[in-house]
């Protein structure tokens, strides 16, 4: 069977050559190992660096995939900063949501949300706000803004658009080789 190479198509070398300007931001960053800390050393347009970091941590806890770097969660969360800059109600929802998470974290674990060490404990905190507009909107947006990143698809074994390669008629549409004979 033809299987999928899960590695990113964009290498660090490509990035250093400067050709990466044409490559998607997430792919560039993935190739260079960008982390939450590097991405948001400074504040965003509307949200502070700690607020953004909390949202990114929350994003990973909502859809945890251990084989993907923070950069994909950052890419998924980043548009919220711009939305907050243009809409006071959105900003209030995000600021209050993060504040609530941190406050719940302090009550139960004596620290901020991002510093609660175990995922299972952070998930308990998320379950506590699952019914809120804040959680609902972040999750509903994330299910698209995370899984619709094309650079992620090979990591999930999905090949995306196929028409330009002539479909799968000569590329393994019927190449399964492990089924029992019937």
């Amino acid at each position: 069977m033809r299987v999928i190479d899960p590695r990113s198509r964009y290498s660090r070398r490509t990035f250093l050559k400067g050709a990466a300007s044409a490559a998607p931001a997430a792919a560039i960053a993935a190739g260079t190992g960008l982390s939450i800390t590097d991405a948001w050393a400074e504040d965003g347009q509307a949200l502070t660096a700690p607020q953004l970091k909390t949202l990114v941590k929350m994003a990973r806890d909502v859809y945890p995939h251990d084989f993907i770097g923070d950069v994909y969660y950052i890419t998924a969360i980043k548009p919220w900063d711009k939305k907050a800059a243009g809409d006071a109600a959105v900003k209030a929802m995000l600021v209050d949501g993060v504040k609530r998470l941190d406050s719940d974290a302090h009550d139960r674990f004596k620290t901020t949300y991002v510093d609660v060490p175990w995922e299972v404990d952070r998930v308990t905190l998320l379950q506590g706000i699952e019914h809120t507009d804040f959680f609902g909107k972040i999750r509903a947006d994330l299910v698209v803004s995370l899984y619709n990143q094309h650079e992620l698809w090979p990591k999930f074994g999905y090949e995306g658009s196929s028409a330009e390669y002539g479909g799968y008629i000569n590329r393994g549409f019927n190449d399964i080789d492990w089924l029992p004979k019937v």
Partner: protein
């Protein structure tokens, strides 16, 4: 290409260009009858389609506001998206998977066959399978359905092979790659299937039949058919005698236009068609057009649906190849010993990563969900599609509050599962899981119904005018020059995909309209 005058009152005006409207338009044009199709969506051609689920959704899907209610889970998860259907020239034939099955004879006579069923509004069709068979033959030939007319079946993809192996282990007999309106060899000026895997996003190779690539260009070539895209019909008008005289629509530039007509045929899908009839209420027809029975909008059918995904130790790559070329038909019989009336089909299905994330278990999050997502390349998938029971209270109404951008009330879709639907779904989930377990699935996922792709029944045909909206030709009981040409005609929904039956009825209806026009009866 034909261009007709707004004041030309000799025209047949068809609202919608999908399986019903697009086919009717071509059939009438071939007979020399001047016809205009008004299509709410834009004209996206084969080269415009994209192999990208969300981008394609934005290009093709009907996303105008609708509201929902009822116990179905879609009302909770997708409150403003009850149906996944197309707003583009070709309608939902652009998006359909191609499965083309005839109804079983008993499925035209469910009242006689199933007897009484609490809460269900069962009725026999005013036509029989034998009566429709010659038209089914014409439709199969027109659409190039595999396993008919000497056309070979499509080759099975990996997803089919998994389902087939499991089905054989369970002893199922009628298992094959389906009767598909997708070319397995070049035919009718179109090439053969390239196993692209994006059937739902508009076929990039043109192998799949649609009114966009087949009926509409053929009709246009006669000089008798004009298709006006970006033309959203608001209202059907009538004269003092009660006959319809034309339609009011908004064109691509936002201007309101009035197109006169000798005959109007409504083919806007089973949500928009009743909405249009209801929105056309007047002092003469205060409950909406053709609604003396009170049945317009009622008996909304969406099929008993659901999916089962099986996760295996080794790769499947279910997304490679024709999405729905795989079927098990053994459960599509009426066998009340299983605990429900009617039957269901099991058909292969796959979604890409973006839609799998959105539809596998809407609203779910956390490691159970992401573990399933990470098993994506090792998944096989099947769609369950069975007959749902007509209920008067499952219906399309006008939302009392929400209005569209033209100021017209939007459609509100109410649906409750009938206990028969629930019993059938439970049975189908069990059988689907057993099929995959028989060939080594480690996990099976009984997946909730998606927004409706099969919308039927809201202007049902009936022998007696008091029981329904249409006679056996899709002509309204109340107004003789007003027709309905889409799946809303269905008196009941059967266990199989509706398109072949819609096309067959449209070919038959074209003959009827032509004959009646010739005799000056309409």
């Amino acid at each position: 290409m034909a261009q007709f005058d707004l004041n030309d009152d000799s025209l047949v005006v068809i609202v919608g260009s999908g399986a019903g409207g697009g086919t009717l338009g071509n059939e009438l044009a071939q007979k020399g009858i001047k016809t205009v199709i008004l299509e709410a969506g834009s004209r996206n051609e084969t080269s415009d389609f994209v192999n990208d689920e969300w981008e394609s959704f934005a290009q093709l899907a009907w996303t105008d506001m609708r509201t929902t209610s009822g116990s179905w889970r879609v009302a909770r998860d997708f409150a403003n998206l009850p149906a996944w259907i197309v707003k583009s020239v070709g309608g939902s034939t652009v998006h359909w998977a191609g499965a083309s099955l005839r109804f079983e004879p008993h499925e035209f006579q469910i009242k006689s066959t199933y007897g009484g069923l609490d809460g269900a509004n069962l009725l026999d069709w005013p036509i029989t399978r034998a009566e429709l068979d010659p038209w089914y033959e014409k439709a199969e030939h027109k659409m190039g359905v595999t396993r008919t007319n000497g056309i070979p079946g499509l080759p099975g993809n990996n997803n089919f092979k998994v389902m087939e192996a499991g089905a054989r282990k369970l002893g199922y007999k009628e298992v094959h790659t389906g009767r598909m309106a997708i070319n397995s060899q070049p035919r009718d000026g179109r090439g053969s299937c390239q196993q692209i895997g994006f059937c739902f996003q508009g076929c990039k190779s043109g192998a799949k039949w649609s009114t966009l690539v087949s009926e509409i260009p053929k009709g246009e070539a006669t000089g008798n058919l004009e298709v006006r895209p970006d033309s959203h019909v608001l209202k059907i008008e009538h004269d003092q005698t009660g006959k319809v005289t034309g339609v009011v629509y908004v064109d691509g530039e936002g201007k309101t236009q009035r197109q006169k007509a000798r005959v109007v045929a409504v083919a806007g899908n089973s949500i928009e068609s009743p909405r249009l009839l209801l929105n056309s209420a007047s002092s003469m027809y205060p409950d909406g057009l053709a609604n003396s029975s009170g049945q317009v909008g009622r008996n909304y059918l969406r099929h008993m649906t659901g999916s089962v995904y099986g996760i295996f130790e080794k790769p499947v790559h279910m997304y490679r190849g024709t999405t729905m070329a795989g079927i098990i038909r053994d459960e599509a019989v009426h066998d009340p010993k299983r605990g429900f009336m009617g039957g269901y089909e099991m058909e292969t299905i796959s979604l890409g990563i973006p839609f799998m994330a959105a539809f596998l278990n809407p609203g779910a999050w956390g490691r159970t969900f992401t573990a399933s997502m990470e098993a994506y390349p090792r998944m096989a998938g099947m769609w369950l599609i069975g007959e749902d029971m007509p209920q008067e209270t499952n219906r399309i109404t006008l939302d009392p509050v929400a209005k569209d951008k033209h100021g017209m009330p939007v459609a509100s879709v109410h649906y409750d599962d009938h206990p028969n639907d629930v019993a059938m779904r439970d049975h189908a989930y069990r059988q689907g899981a057993a099929i995959y377990q028989a060939v080594g699935a480690t996990v099976t996922l009984p997946t909730t119904p998606y927004p409706s792709t099969h919308n039927m029944g809201t202007n049902r045909m009936s022998e007696k005018p008091r029981d329904g909206v249409l006679n056996k030709f899709g002509q309204t009981h109340d107004i003789k020059n007003l027709f309905v040409s889409d799946g809303s005609q269905f008196t009941s929904g059967a266990a199989c995909n509706p398109t072949l039956t819609i096309v067959s009825l449209a070919i038959r209806q074209a003959d009827h309209i032509a004959t009646r026009m010739q005799s000056r009866d309409i």
